[in-house]
Amino acid sequence: MLYVVIIFLFFSILLYFLLGGADFGAGIIELFTSTDNKSRTRRTMYKAIGPIWEANHMWLIIAVVIMFVGFPVIYSDMCTYLHIPLLIMLLGITARGTAFSFRNYDAIKDDKMQDLYNYIFVYSSFITPLFLGIVAGSVISRQIDPGAIDYLSTYIFSWLNWFSVMVGFFTVALCGFLAAIYLIGEAKEQFDVKRFTKKAVIMNAVAVGFGGLVFIAAEHENVHLAHWIFGNPVSLIAVIAASLSLVLLWYLLSKGNTKVIRILAAFQVTMILVSVSYRHFPNIIMVKGGHNLSLLKDHAPMATINDLGWGLLLGSLLILPALGYLFYSFQTKQSRAN
């Protein structure tokens, strides 16, 4: 049952990265859209994510709940040493979620308030995945130091280091890329398809750039990233698969395919996550001095894990069909409307 819980944890994090990430990315794309086209982007985006965005963010809740019920020590350590980036991420989630609904549900749409909502929405769409990435980078960076005695090294340098920050920017670029690919399929006019394709190219290039910087920063901070990724066959295959799928994605896109490329983009992100986490699984937090926290060791008592596993299994029987139908029906209704 422990493995069931771990699989649920992995998938909720993955799905949050993919769905929530594309969602954040939509805001990032809007941020980097010229003023003339902003309202076009906004319209496409509202149609695309309006009905599903709340559900996309539920994956974070599921992941957090699994963490604090199933892996309380890990959760409590993360919350202590990464208090500040988590806090900023939360503020971003709050600002973004409320700004998005407020701009849609404000009964009066033609005044300065819309500008304010947009402003908050786009900047929080940028900041939230940045800090999400920083948190993700920090847990494997070995910079968390339970032995530290001063405030800075306990609560600041645990996350404010080159590696974590570069992972943060890499995450932002990936989110933008996912969103651009997603929006290509939602766009109705050729003009928009071209615009989003261009955005996808830029985001792709930026992601590759930051990906490189992540490796450099990793060397600088003594994180054995290259060894994790290239040092074992599974990770290596995952990286190769990710790169090949990228080539295939651009080929298909040039042929005018807009749906398969979504799967390929999602596949790519999945492979990146697999290749990074495979080598140090089951360790999830790498701590300075070597006492790592492991999913297989630092979990709740088995009675809890069993109940949690059953809860998740039964819950997913309810959630997955409903969620599938939600995605399906708004997709088909959308295309029927075209």
Partner: protein, 436 residues
């Protein structure tokens, strides 16, 4: 402000903010489902417009409630890591089920808000029902987690170790039913009166009277019935507190001395130094009667509880008095409404009558906040009653007061924004929903 007080204040603020949104998120979908049902049955477009107007409100409240809930699920760890480390595996079951219920609520809300005229009308109606039901279930589950803190169960605590963990037993602890019942009824009463009050104000101002009268009727029916039922569930809660948390009950009643014919106290200013109450009305024997069903058996007072295990008496007492006073007022005007409906229909549009309900708009929520103050402050100094002190659970990170100031600013801004948005929704009713 020291870090411990800052952490408690931040938690209180976050919960106090979230609770309003979750109550509305639980109850409004039920109102929507009723008016949507009436629309499908009567074909009167006014009911469709009421449903749509309400659903805009729900979307605003749901989004705000969802983000403040996400915030809370992290704040549990950010502020109380030691508590979560030990309590997470024990009382986490209702949270994981709540995650499921909340997820379903979000999916159903997506269908409901964006699915007008796109689906079979009964399917669309059904998704509205699912929003309501999963909202209420989420609420019950979260309250059941809280009730575990008041009445810990499902584990053995031996030499500082938590063993023999049984999450299901923890979930169905002794207090869960009375607390969940009390909170659910409170949510219906508070939301019912708040919604009714806003519509009463519009009727009073003679704006879109038919639209607002129909809306008022749906909301007040729930609010009034809930207010009438609430004292019964309150009695159940108080009896439970007497049994499991005598310190809390004693603080609620500012009951300093254990003696036969224990007095029920109405009002009064507790003097904790001299252990007496000034200016209160005391009803001898009534507290004994409420707790033990006879007038003589003494109710344990604060003298039975070591000083270091006592909650803040004045805060708990005032909050309790405020909650009960509001509860009684809402009960009275709830009865008055049904009386008017039965015998004096002409009252329903009288300005004195409407003014009563306008005045009641915020009261239910003030009572909800007061009730939570009773249950949370009344449990102190414990975070897990009798097992872990709140001060042992707090994060070691210094500087929490900055985070508290930040949260205060954010919640204040968000509250303003929501009020602003709602007032704009109401202002647009004539244009969007009711042209007559």
């Amino acid at each position: 402000m020291n870090d411990f007080i800052a952490a408690r204040s931040q938690m209180a603020l976050s919960l106090g903010f979230h609770i309003i949104y979750s109550c509305i998120g639980m109850v409004m979908p039920v109102f929507m489902a009723i008016s949507n049902y009436k629309y499908i049955k009567t074909k009167d477009p006014l009911y469709k417009h009421i449903t749509q107007a309400w659903s805009k409100g729900v979307a605003i409240f749901f989004a705000t409630g969802a983000v403040s809930g996400t915030m809370l699920s992290f704040e549990l760890g950010l502020l109380w890591p030691k508590f979560m480390e030990h309590a997470g595996p024990i009382f986490g079951m209702p949270f994981s089920l709540e995650g499921v219920a909340f997820f379903i609520e979000a999916i159903a809300l997506g269908f409901f808000l964006y699915g007008w005229d796109k689906f079979n009308k009964w399917f669309h109606w059904f998704t509205g029902i699912v929003v309501g039901v999963s909202g209420v279930v989420s609420g019950i589950l979260v309250v059941s987690a809280n009730s575990w803190m008041n009445s810990p169960a499902g584990f053995d605590y031996v030499n500082g170790q938590y063993t023999n963990i049984d999450p299901i037993k923890a979930m169905f602890n002794a207090a869960w039913f009375s607390e969940a019942l009390h909170m659910t009824i409170a949510a219906f009463a508070a939301t019912g009166f708040a919604v009714a009050g806003i519509h009463a104000l519009m009727i009073f101002r003679k704006k879109n009277v038919t639209f607002h009268t129909k809306s008022f009727k749906i909301a007040i029916a729930f609010g009034a019935v809930a207010a009438i039922l609430q004292p019964l569930s309150g009695d159940l809660s108080a009896k439970g507190a007497a049994q499991r948390q005598p310190a809390k009950l004693a603080a609620m009643e500012a009951h300093f001395h254990t003696e036969p014919y224990s007095k029920l106290l109405i009002g009064g200013i507790p003097d904790t130094v001299n252990k007496k109450v000034n200016y209160g009305i005391e009803l001898p024997g009534l507290l004994s009667f409420l707790v033990h069903d006879d007038f003589k058996t003494p109710v344990n007072g604060l003298d039975k509880i070591p000083q270091k295990d006592q909650p803040n008496v004045p805060v708990t007492h005032y909050a309790f008095q405020l909650m009960v006073a509001i509860g009684m007022f809402l009960l009275a005007i709830g009865l008055l409404y049904f009386f008017a409906l039965w015998k004096k229909r002409e009252w329903l549009n009288k300005s004195w009558f409407l003014k009563l309900f306008i005045a009641a708009t915020p009261l239910g929520f003030i009572a909800v906040e007061a009730g939570w103050t009773v249950t949370e402050v009344g449990r102190q100094p414990w975070i897990i009653q009798g097992v872990m002190r709140t001060s042992e659970a707090v994060t070691p990170m210094p500087g929490i007061h900055y985070s508290f100031y930040l949260f205060t600013l954010i919640y204040f801004t968000l509250s303003l924004a929501v009020v602003f948005l709602l007032s704009r929704q109401i202002k647009m009713v004539p244009e969007l929903y009711d042209h007559n």
